[in-house]
């Protein structure tokens, strides 16, 4: 059990890393892009906007710690 827990912790650290909010925003942005594209809207701007916003938010927050 502890090995499984250690493996899950490793996977989390490996993929998600120091700031889980980045993963959360990426998932939300991909979902939003998919929903808008399904309705026929141009979505090329969604991910660049999400990336710039979450990156700025994440590094500014880290700099305040």
């Amino acid at each position: 059990m502890s090995r499984l827990r250690a493996f899950v912790a490793f996977l989390y650290e490996f993929i998600v890393g120091d700031d889980p909010m980045i993963a959360v925003v990426v998932v939300i942005a991909l979902g939003l892009a998919a929903a808008l594209a399904d309705g026929g809207t141009a979505v090329w701007w969604v991910l660049p906007l999400a990336v710039a916003s979450v990156l700025a938010w994440s590094v500014l927050r880290a700099s305040r710690r």
Binding site: F14, I15, V16, G17, D18, D19, I22, A23, V26, V27, A29, L30, A33, A34, L36, A37, D38, A42, V43, W44, V46, L47, P48, V51, A52, V54, L55, A56, S58, V59, L60, A62, S63
Partner: protein, 254 residues
């Protein structure tokens, strides 16, 4: 064509960075616990990494292209943004720069504290070498699999990774000390920019969107990610300087 060149570059750079870190660990093990255990650890780790790529590569390639691009785009974005976040914090002074010489000295001190088994393969040396190469290599294997499968060109990604490994191993064997001359922090920054840019591109296509100019959007996205991150470095550097000035004023005798 553009995709293939950028695929090669991204995998090659990522592999060079991780290879430099792995060489530091293997050198420390070889010097303190013997080269036999160090090389055995490297060999077994490379077999595991090859199996990882061989199994996961074809499995991902079998997915429908839009699902593959959505999954790979999302993973690359999460992964790339973490690399980029660390690179920005390093470049602006909020996180210590990666220093191979310091890491090597620390590794040597830690490894010398553990007794060496004189006959056969030293289990401790083997484990440290194996884990070091495996963990550093996993990030590269992940990039090889995601980039390669999305481009339906896993062999090209493997060739890029092998070229970097061979280069780093030859350089490490020739220098016989950590490859601290390699501009590791800059390379990590470049890899973060590329992973994030490709993540944006493939993620959007996977979500059902399309790019104005199609493939021509990739260099634009790389420029966008680079400029955004450089802007953040500039803002954070000013903030770091202000904090340092405030700290020195507070510590100055009155």
């Amino acid at each position: 064509m553009t995709h293939d060149v950028l695929l090669f570059l991204a995998v090659f750079l990522a592999c060079t960075v991780e290879g430099v870190e792995a060489v530091t660990i293997v050198l420390a093990v070889g010097i303190t616990h013997g080269w036999r255990s160090a090389w055995t650890g490297v060999g077994v780790a490379l077999i595991v990494l090859t199996a990882f790529v061989a199994v996961l590569g074809p499995a991902l390639t079998a997915l429908p292209i839009n699902v593959l691009r959505l999954v790979v785009g999302g993973l690359l974005l999460v992964f790339g943004l973490q690399w980029l976040r660390k690179a920005i914090l390093r470049a602006s002074g909020f996180k210590a720069l990666h220093d191979e010489d310091a890491i090597f000295a620390e590794e040597i001190a830690d490894l010398r504290a553990v007794p060496v088994q004189r006959t056969g393969i030293d289990p401790f040396g083997f484990t440290v070498s194996f884990k070091g190469v495996l963990l550093e290599g996993l990030e590269v294997a992940f990039i090889v699999v995601t980039f390669g499968s999305n481009q339906h060109n896993v062999p090209l990604a493997v060739i890029a990774a092998l070229a970097a490994v061979i280069l780093v191993v030859i350089a490490g064997a020739a220098a016989h000390r950590p490859l601290s001359q390699v501009p590791e922090n800059t390379l990590k920054y470049a890899v973060g920019v590329m992973l994030t840019s490709f993540g944006i591109f493939w993620g959007t296509e996977g979500a059902g969107g399309s790019w104005p100019g199609q493939d021509a959007a990739i260099p634009v996205l790389i420029a966008f990610t680079l400029l955004t991150s450089l802007g953040l470095v500039s803002v954070l550097r000013r903030r770091h300087a202000q904090l340092a000035a405030a700290g020195s004023r507070a510590g100055a005798p009155r």
